[in-house]
Amino acid sequence: MALQSLDIKARSATTTPPPRARNPVHVAKLIDISKCIGCKACQVACMEWNDLRDEVGTNVGIYDNPRDLSDQSWTVMRFSEVEVEQGRLEWLIRKDGCMHCDDPGCLKACPSPGAIVQYANGIVDFHEEHCIGCGYCLTGCPFNIPRISKKDSKAYKCTLCSDRVAVGLEPACIKTCPTGALVFGSKEDMIHHAEGRIADLKERGYANAALYNPRGVGGTHVMYVLQHGDQPELYANLPKDPHISPLVSLWKGVTKPLMSLGIGLAVFAGFFHFVTVGPKEVEEEETD
């Protein structure tokens, strides 16, 4: 690799092992929802750094704009008004975007070699030049993140600013966050930082404050501090126990080699049948 920090740990549609000699630090972004004021500066930083400009849309009766992730919006804020306790309103604002799973479903589903890679530091990145636009990554993702561009039919999502991280910078959203709701560093440090935040939240009456680093996808390199860790679905339907769909695991897991083997076996069976039993020939004399 051109850059050591971009060593690839896993590569889509690749069956041989990756380079493993170097062991870069695992990185993580921590999103502390209890500190987030929903200012959307991260959305702007993302658009600016990545040269993205979504459409000027419309208001549909909520604060969320752009309405959803797209090829031009790799992160959006999702606003949820909830009353966890009777009479105590909370406005939970979640920055949505790629979670950079340790076991990335998108990568698992992708049929194009190298279109999706996972760097050794944990970042999951799409290499659009290898993307064929099949949309399989959509089926693999447990968080509904990748979006296929209407312009070029390629899949896009947050890169965790892999280009910035590779040269020792923090992602653009982290750089711009005014309240420190977004922090970035080694995954270990981020977990430690989160523990401090959770202790603080517990003191402030959030008994179920917790870190969101779901096991089902091997942990994530984007983690949340949630005031209500027991109810992640309050935060615009953040999945409680995300995992790669069993259908996708089935499809891209055992069936892929087994079916391929089955096809191979069928061909071989025919061949050996032919050389052992032989062809069915009809004696022309049979005719009158």
Partner: protein, 205 residues
């Protein structure tokens, strides 16, 4: 001079081969995306994106042409009590002990099974394919349906490929068969031997 019997008209043969070519192209371009080992096949189609773009259109061609083909052959593929008898002798068939086999019409039970397999898998492939067809139709379906569709599509394709492998092998194995689809005729001996009932029907003998 050897006598021959017309088994397929020119139209039927053309139709068959349109389906066959579409199947091969769809199969290859589909397999290319199914397992990394086959990804090199995308090169046959001009690379990954072209593979992805062409595959569904080829699939539609295969579907439409197969619908025509199925319409042509539908009535010959109804199962009869004789087919059950034939199936009991499948071992004899495979071991070339043809003398023990019961009389067969235009198609034997194995051929009929293949016919119905394809009749089922092709529409399933089309429907599941439409659901995952990027970028035209997939955005209109929920992701859970996409997940179901990719699995069904793969499974249906697999079954169909296995069926066609048997189909192709049978044509090679049973000598004198291929010309039915290339020239449209088979020898009287071939017909008498493999499809005696059909032979009698065609010749009145």
């Amino acid at each position: 001079m050897r006598t021959t019997i017309q088994r397929y008209t020119a139209r039927e043969r053309s139709n068959h081969w349109v389906v066959a070519i579409a199947f091969i192209l769809a199969g290859l371009s589909g397999l290319a995306l199914f397992h990394p080992a086959f990804f090199f096949l995308t090169n046959l189609f001009g690379g990954g994106p072209w593979d992805r773009i062409l595959h569904p259109f080829i699939g539609v061609v295969m579907f439409l042409s197969f619908v025509a083909l199925a319409a042509r052959f539908w009535r010959f593929n109804h199962f009869t009590p004789a087919d059950r008898q034939w199936m009991k002798h499948i071992g004899d068939e495979l071991c070339n002990r043809d003398e023990r086999l019961p009389e067969v019409g235009k198609y034997n039970a194995g051929q009929k099974y293949l016919f119905w397999t394809v009749v089922v898998t092709v529409p399933v492939l089309l429907l599941s394919g439409v659901v995952i067809w990027q970028p035209w139709f997939a955005p209109y379906f929920p992701i859970w349906l996409l997940r179901v569709a990719v699995v069904i599509h793969a499974l249906a394709a697999w079954i169909m490929i296995l069926g066609i492998i048997v189909h192709v092998y049978a044509a090679i194995w049973v000598k004198g068969t291929v010309r039915a689809m290339t020239r449209g005729t088979v020898s009287e001996a071939w017909a008498k031997h493999h499809h005696r009932a059909w032979y009698r029907e065609m010749t009145g003998k």
